[in-house]
Amino acid sequence: MARGSNENEGGWKKFIWDSEKKAFLGRTGSSWFKIFLFYLIFYGCLAGIFIGTIQALLLTISSYRPTYQDRVAPPGLTHTPKTIKTEISFTLNSEGSYKAFIESIDNFLKQYDDDKQTDKMKFEDCKDQPSGYIERGQYDNSAGEKKACTFNRRWLGNCSGLDDPSYGYSSGKPCFIVKLNRILGYKPEPPKNNETIPLEAQDRVQPNVIPIHCAAKREEEVSKIGQINYYGMGGLGGFPLQYYPYYGKLLQPQYLQPLVAIQFTNLTLDIDLRIECKAYGENINYSDKDRFQGRFDVKFQLKSR
């Protein structure tokens, strides 16, 4: 620009503080005050409207039952110990390599200790054989808190940690605790026919149980996985239905999900083994995008040294 380029020089200082007009950043004190007041009122009103709408929104939302569950259902299938990059890798006889796994399971199973389930006001004994859903009324606090079924840790057998505090890790027979993610009001339905279920899992298919089955992901590894033991209520590898439906954090704060323990008793050493576990049910789906929906896979590596 050929013209007017020199006029701005030195203008900056004057813009920041104009001693003539007593103006800071181009505004005098009273001007700043007015604009400040304006924005105070403006944002005050906006914030009021915002808080008002959020309050109104919260009024429409029940504390006991979420408005929609389409994003959270069908449930995910998750396991303990937690893994980073779904990989469980440890060395036989090296306690340090699997200590973290044991601690993780210990922590998780602590809430299933018998002494935590003694309060008869909160827990009821739901027998030790799978049975149907237990409905506990409306999803509101009209009847106060709901009871939850007890879950006996001993049902997890060798993986309960009661007999073998290392959950089999020290002997190269690692255990896995599997649970179905909690979904409020969700009633998993056992598979109606056996066609989709692998042959080896057929014996676990019973009414009132959501069976679980683990298998090698790759064909060639099938023989290398060896024997898999399943522990759960009634000795079955599955989730019994009497624990469902879940009534939510407010009504069932003490709720215990049914667990299934999986023990790999004869894993081949020193190779990567991809194992996929699946829960089977009419309303349990799998998704390509969500690798934890109704199933999970985990990579085992047992190192001999």
């Binding site: 709408t53 929104l57 979420p66 994003r71 995910g76 993610n181 909690r182 934890f292």
Partner: protein, 1030 residues
Amino acid sequence: MGKKGDQYEVFVEMGRDTNGEMDAKIKKKKKVKKKEMLEGMKKEMEIDDHELTIEELEMKYSTSTTKGMSSTLAAQVLERDGANELKPPKGTPEYVKFARQLAGGLQCLMWVAAVICFIAFGIQFAQEDLTSYDNLYLAITLIAVVVVTGCFGYYQEFKSTNIIASFKNLVPQKATVFRDGQKSQINANQLVVGDLVEIKGGDRVPADVRIITAQGCKVDNSSLTGESEPQSKGPECTHENPLETRNIAFFSTTCLEGIATGIIINTGDRTIIGRIASLASGVGNEKTPIAIEIEHFVDIIAGLAIFFGATFFVVAMVIGYQFLKAMIFFMAIVVAYVPEGLLATVTVCLSLTAKRLAKKNCVVKNLEAVETLGSTSVICSDKTGTLTQNRMTVSHLWFDNHIHSADTTEDQSGQSFDQSSETWRALGRVAGLCNRAVFKPGQEEIPIPKREVIGDASETALLKFTELTIGNVIDYRGRFKKICEVPFNSTNKFQLSIHELEDPLDLRYLLVMKGAPERILERCSTIMIKGQELPLDEQWKEAFQTAYMDLGSLGERVLGFCHIFMNEKEYPRGYNFDTDEMNFPTSGLCFAGLISMIDPPRATVPDAVMKCRTAGIRVIMVTGDHPITAKAIAANVGIISEGSETVEDIATRLRIPVEQVNRGDARACVINGGQLKDMTSDELDDALRAHPEMVFARTSPQQKLIIVESCQRLGSIVAVTGDGVNDSPALKKADIGIAMGIAGSDAAKNAADMILLDDNFASIVTGVEQGRLIFDNLKKSIAYTLTKNIPELTPYLIYITVSVPLPLGCITILFIELATDIFPSVSLAYEKAESDIMHLKPRNPKRDRLVNEALAVYSYFQIGAIQSFAGFTDYFTAMAQEGWLPLLCVGLRSQWENPHNQEVQDSYGQEWTYSQRLYQEYTCYTVFFVSIEICQISDVLIRKTRRLSVFQQGFFRNKVLVTAIVFQLLLGNFLCYCPGMPNIFNFMPIRVQWWFVPVPFGILIFVYDEIRKLGVRRHPGSWWDKELYY
């Protein structure tokens, strides 16, 4: 700047000096520019061909003045010298132009953002920590955005360059050349040095030519020197300076009449005009006001983006995020804050207007010039062809002691005069017969005023006039067989011819004569009044003088007409009329009347000038014509308004000497080139300040530059029209140069920003109107575009500081910026003006900015804030209804984003896997996106007006805008509900009610803005108006 200034100085001097010294000045200019070129240049400039004898010439160029060159030699020379054409000024190479499109301020920021994305992706990839390809997608999208907008801008530029290129190839010029003794027509660009060419009246001189033979050859040098008087050319060397001598005709000048042959001494860029043209291209272009505005604004935006990004980078680092994470935040803030779609919007808006203008005969070369036109405060206009029809036309007749007005309109729609008088028949007969002009053949279909004629300007005017009033003149002339004639020459100052009469029984001869009125009157002894021949006494002579003065003061060219019927006894049939001896009566004739001619103003011009006046634009006439003619036309079209007087007028009225007149009383002022030469620039500034109505007459094109500079010193934005080669410096210097499409030379078109296809001044005014409209509408578009940057930015700020799950992703932001919001922001360009923009003063480029503080503050901190609240309301609604109550969201970020945690508990104790959370996050993106869309619909409605209520402007008047809103909604729905979107572009099909959550906020925006406008309208000048009117 210093160097540029020097160059201008040279041009100024060039204008002031006589043209004879031009070559020296050109050398001087080159010295300033490139010293090492000096030697070569000097050699080039030394033309001595005009001093050589014909034999020496033949030797020098191995040619022959009778046979021309041999074809083989000509081919060799053509090979050596190249084609005889002006090379277009060396443009920037195409790849540089393209690269420039990719390297603007915003583009650079986007490159940085893309690189950060790539780095982030690379690091994640290397760490095998890849949870999604988002960063890669984002990088690719960003690059695509930069490249696509770059291509778009480049295409626009390319297209406008092509328009210019198309002008050049419109008519391939032909030249008559002698080669191998054969006369032939070839394309003028095939000519070479040494060729023997023939030039006839009407031809353009095809190269610099040394004249060998000439018969009555006259050349119009105006395109070269600005002299409007034709100059005769002949074989003799009359001056040692090649520019002054008569025996060289220059490239691109036109031969008006006569015939000449000559030898070409320079071709193409080596011609004088070629050198001037190449010098003109060295004059730097002024940046357009809108370019300055946009640059200014982009700088601020880029600065703010970096500032925000850096601040939050530091904040993130302090809070304890990883470096990589903090870099991604930085990148995201840049993406959110930069209005990616803005440049495209501006370009599209401008090109829409350019297209609209092209329909109205203004071709805009440089898109930004559209807006410049709107801020124009001074138009320096040519007279001939721009304000006038560029056609001498009979305007007045004096016969029967009465001045009659002829119809001068372009389409003959005006009133004609009473043609029943016997005197008119006599006058018409003289005008028709004593005329050598003829129509070019094959023009029967064309209306008479537009037909092409062979002959000079006044004869052409008379021919057309008689054709219109009497009928077929050629046929008429055939009935009066011409016996002999004496053509016009400057000593006689008359032209006469002798004819047989129409009636074969009447054996008298008729002598008809026309010429300078006083000379004609001298030769008359009688005057025809109402068909009667009366003796020409003092009373009639006085009447004649009065009429002559009256017509002269109108700036018209006046011719007198007389005739005599020769006695058949003295001059029987077969009498040998000798035009040298003049053996026939040339005095004692009968005076028939006066006819005056003028180049009349175009019909649309007075209105257009009036419009300029109401629009606060000064129109200054700059012409090479005579001051009286210039003043008359200026008064005629309203440049000098009714009742305005010049200093001279006041002096005459008050009968006092010119020096005693108070200069301040004179609104108008006519300055001629001679006076201008003696004025200092301060005096010129003073004159321009003192007199609102200015006419510059007898100016050379170079003096235009001085006038332009003076206007610019006074702070005006100046539009200049021009057509000649020497106008190009002024065209370049002007804020907007306007070249004439018909009369303009290529050099002028190259230098100009805009081309008027019809050479009509009224088109400029249309342009001004469109320019002002687009400035207003661009303001609206930009306000609309800027608003959404805040609701795009705040999610990130809240995300970083409060650690809620991310409400709005980068890719979604790009969709808002580049897909859904583009059409509505462009549609604002179709908005009608709020008020009569042609009744406002031109904007002050220093005060009335495109993007001012009020606009930014209002868009960002008020409307943008409301939009943000709308987005967050909708976000929290979607989260809460899916199980995540607002308070739980706070601080949730690290759990939420941990890809290895498959059991994050929501407010109800439900456990979510990572993917489930991710899809919930995408739902939030979509919901936030929808909120912005809904608010933007409200935003585009409020942006329709800045002051008026939308109800006053009309909701549905702008059909394009309505279509744009529908389109926006459809596109939004498509993005939400098209299968496959979640995994490609992170859009989720959302619940219907989430579309309606932001609606109350949209209504709030609308109502709030109506209140704002109401306050602005009701209380102009109040605090409210000052703070909230943008």
